[in-house]
């Protein structure tokens, strides 16, 4: 079989004639040429935007998501390879270019369609609609734990199965046998009756000319050969020898370095800059007033930082200079009271008649909880290298949203988006922070002022003080109990709702519920923080259910179990965590055990924490985690994400608070925004349930339940109920525990 070049391949009309992207033909003309040019080498055959085959039989999965440690490149490639029956050892991946053609329409569909079942998720009109919508929205986002549930389930697997179907059909045509007699085994097409065998590559070109089935049949779990196994992650080897390139590692000829200082009080502008103090500093090239920040460009980061520290900058005032954290909590409380007094509650969820249940209750339990603002603090501070040359703006950075960033830069610089080229590196942590383009826009604006490439690096202090923060909040509860201790009413009011909508909802069978909230805006910028609203509501609801159980005189695990009669997925996960933790076995003195269960992003997680209290310090010694993500595509990857989510959540629960002082963030670096470290890191055991439910996410669901499990364990150890995070604010020394502070 002859070789063909990309040119020949296109002129043969394969793409122009209708290479199929899930039922959508890529439009003929320049655009298809461009698409092929973006992803294919000479001699490679492109099947759709997510898979191509090389003449030596290597299959490349084109992954439209960034890897920030969750192993998504590997997991998505597994899903594609399994449906293709490809040889795992011949699978490669590349991250999809930050180009509109590769907009991840599956993600938009996941968000927009929610759990609604289409007659088929491959109906042309539906896909066509979402592809257009997504491109308009510039989506190619990694976040919301959607990569596997949406891109993987409705993208990669379908792409793999459709590609296999046309490969088999092409071989069937050539060998003149029915396609049903053919099968694929490790990238080889086999016809058993005639003992014919051929590698995928042999029929790649002919297959690409066939129309791919819009509804290929997908494997059932018993047919999986790669999904559900523990393959090694692609990204690990370069991460052990320093060769992995993160955004901050970009190096360009003649590159200079910049660092910035924005007004400490959010939203105020630069009033004046006096350069005289840095006039004779070596290596300093330029001071740039960006309006809301000042940038210094120098030959090295250190020179830029030293100059910036010495520079005299005055900022305007905007009225927020006197805001303290206590003012923010008072504002929340006032707004919560006001909406109740005025009957202005915004209903989140309501069923039954809570008033009636409360009046006829045997006992009423009330509690109020608070959580602080939180920063993301990924280990790699915000940074971006930008270079404007030949009418083009090139960007090197780490982002969860490459297309969105390119679009924002194009807007800022008033350039056409086709002239903005973003190169995405590995992300040194994302957690939601790298969905906000502020640092990339800054870098582009600085680059616009200089004739050379410039690498903008934020100091850790800037990173901490100019994050987009998880909201602070207050949550108030009232529950009615009947004479047996069973809850008959659940009333919950909280402040500041973002996303996802269901975060405050509970799985428990309680007849009368009223969940509502108040709005109370502050000047502190908000951002998606690992698990978003789940990160606070799991703490609120799973602490309160523990308090009710205690008041009812019941074991907190058994109490939950009994209330989950109509939520079998939750109950199974809870039971497994309890069983694996030897729930009920006695613990040594000063030890305690706590449990919590919560569903987020389609995945149910239950965690048990064992703590030891030593001289008032909390040591989480052991964490047991049970997780049901429907099906664990990459079990070791899920375990790693649970470990990560647990430690991220424990860090926040034990130590983290971003507090506002004189309008600005008081914390600045890891000395005052502490991290959980090796000596306080618990042993973690993760147990997986493959329930067969719709596949859920993994990156975020490990975080929400751990804070309540922790405070419930502290209560079990000490009798002290912690209702305000972080735990660090509370005195847990022995003397303080004379009287048990109970619900």
């Amino acid at each position: 079989m002859g070789k063909w070049t990309r040119r020949a391949f296109i002129s043969a009309g394969v793409l122009a004639g209708g290479v199929v992207v899930f039922g959508i033909a890529i439009r003929p003309g320049d655009r298809s040429d461009k698409v092929a040019g973006l992803i294919a080498n000479d001699e490679e055959t492109v099947f759709n935007v997510w898979v191509k085959i090389a003449p030596d039989n290597r299959v490349t999965a084109i992954i439209p998501h960034a890897d920030m440690g969750q192993g998504v490149h590997t997991t998505l490639a597994m899903m594609l390879a399994d449906e293709m029956d490809a040889d795992w050892d011949l699978i490669e991946f590349m991250e999809a270019p930050a180009h509109k053609e590769f907009a991840n329409y599956a993600l938009a569909k996941g968000y927009a369609a929610g759990d609604v079942d289409f007659p088929s998720w491959l109906v042309d009109t539906v896909d066509g609609f979402f592809l257009t919508a997504t491109k308009a929205m510039n989506l190619q986002i990694t976040g919301g734990s959607t990569s596997v549930p949406t891109t993987g389930q409705v993208g990669m697997r379908v792409a793999g199965a459709a590609t296999k179907a046309v490969l088999l059909q092409a071989a069937a045509n050539a060998w003149d046998v029915p396609a049903s007699e053919l099968k694929a085994q490790k990238s080889i097409i086999v016809h058993e009756a005639s003992s014919k065998r051929a590698p995928f590559a042999e029929f790649a070109r002919a297959a690409a000319e066939l129309s791919q089935p819009a509804k290929p049949s997908l494997k059932t779990p018993d047919e999986y050969t790669i999904m559900g196994t523990d393959v090694q992650r692609f990204d690990v080897p370069p991460k052990v020898d320093g060769s992995a390139k993160f955004g901050i590692d970009a190096q360009l000829p003649g590159m200079k370095y910049a660092t910035v200082k924005a007004s400490p009080v959010f939203g105020t502008l630069v009033k004046s800059i006096d350069n005289s103090s840095i006039q004779d500093m070596a290596g300093v090239r330029k001071v740039i007033n960006l309006g809301d920040a000042v940038a210094v460009v120098a030959d090295g980061y250190w020179q830029a930082k030293k100059a910036l520290d010495r520079l005299d900058v005055e900022f305007e005032q905007n009225g927020n200079e006197s805001v303290e954290q206590s003012d923010i909590f008072s504002q929340f409380a006032t707004d919560m009271d006001r909406v109740v007094a005025n009957g202005d509650e915004i209903t989140d969820f309501s069923q039954g008649d809570t008033n009636l249940a409360l009046t006829s209750a045997d006992a009423v339990v009330e509690a109020e909880y608070r959580v602080p603002y939180l920063a993301h603090a990924p280990m790699e501070p915000m940074n971006c290298t930008a270079w404007i040359h030949d009418d083009v703006c090139e960007l090197w950075t780490g982002t969860q949203n490459p297309l969105g960033f390119a679009a924002e830069v194009a807007d800022t610089l008033e350039m056409d988006i086709s002239k903005v080229q973003l190169h995405n590196g590995y992300l040194g942590g994302g957690f939601g922070r790298r969905a906000f383009a502020d640092y990339t826009i800054q870098a582009a604006r600085i680059a616009a002022e200089v004739p050379y490439p410039v690498k903008l690096i934020w100091s850790r202090e800037e990173d901490m003080r100019h994050d987009h923060y998880r909201q602070a909040s207050i949550s108030r509860f009232k529950a009615a109990l009947d004479s047996s201790g069973k809850p008959t009413a659940w009333v919950n009011q909280y402040v500041e709702k973002y996303d996802p909508e269901e975060a405050p909802h509970i799985p428990y069978s309680i007849d009368n519920q009223f969940i509502h909230y108040a709005e109370s805006k502050t000047h502190v910028p908000w951002g998606f923080w690992r698990s978003v609203d789940h990160s606070l509501h799991a703490f609120f609801t799973e602490s309160f259910i523990d308090e009710i159980a205690f008041r009812a005189g019941k074991d907190p695990y058994q109490y939950r179990h009994d209330l989950l009669e109509n939520a079998p997925r939750f109950r199974d996960v809870l039971d497994l965590a309890a069983e694996k933790s030897n729930w009920g076995e006695p613990l040594p003195e000063n030890w305690g055990r706590g449990i919590a269960v919560h569903k987020s992003f389609g995945t149910v997680v239950s965690q048990v924490v064992e703590v030891e209290i030593v001289d008032g310090q909390v040591f989480p010694r052991r964490a047991i985690c049970a997780v049901d993500a429907g099906f664990a595509m990459h079990p070791d990857g899920i375990k790693a994400q649970m470990e990560s989510g647990i430690i991220y959540g424990l860090t926040a629960a034990l130590y983290s608070d971003i507090s506002i002082r004189r309008g600005a963030v008081a914390q600045s670096n890891f000395h005052d925004y502490q991290m959980l470290r090796m000596d306080k890191s618990p042993e973690i055991e993760t147990y997986i349930i493959n329930s067969g439910a719709r596949v859920g996410g993994a990156g975020e669901p490990g975080t929400p339940a751990i804070a309540p499990a922790l405070v419930n364990a502290i209560f079990n150890a000490t009798g002290k109920r912690i209702r305000e995070l972080p735990v660090r604010l509370h005195d847990l020394t022995r003397e303080d525990l004379g009287s048990k502070d109970v619900a």
Partner: protein
Amino acid sequence: MRAGHFSLKLPGLSASTIIMTRLPRILVWSNVLSINRAAQFRRVLPGGKQRIGKMINLKINGETHELDVDPTTPLLWVIREQAGLTGTKFGCGIAQCGACTVHLDGSPVRSCVVPAQAAVGKDIMTIEGIKPGHGLHAVQQAWIDEQVPQCGYCQSGQIMSAVALLAANPSPSDQDIDAAMSGIVCRCGTYPRIRRGIKRAAAAMSNASNNGEKVNG
């Protein structure tokens, strides 16, 4: 173009390339690898005047670099920006996170707070230098076997600290591991795997030396 690589070309762009591939499964920004360091690090005042910086010699991973630096510049930035070795990472700049850990004469130090001058005449070892001529260091292999890294950003610091720990203490207890490793923050929470990785590397190194094999450690 090499097989397995993928080149992204857009009209009007000169060789802008992002490559992701398996074998060796790394991300390479190919057009940015050759650096004109001389041009990059001329010292120029805002007025455009040239300034001759102090020349110092630093021995990094066995290779001597003659560098024009302000000798008070922290070693971290000299390693990353002037020697071009980007495996050593910036996390906090104030000795709080350990991302910048390198070895000075075999001891782990926070390069973000060590002035370049203080490293003159010493052996500086970075993550790029711990791989022996053949194969991987036992710690690196253990990191792969345990699938330790997540985002990977802290891992150079973790590995440099673990290598130094095992060199000084071939069979560390949990307390020894806590003491040696608690200075290195991992925001992704890979601590349980780091602990397992250290124990696995320790076992591999002791097996190898018991069998009289050459040890990568």
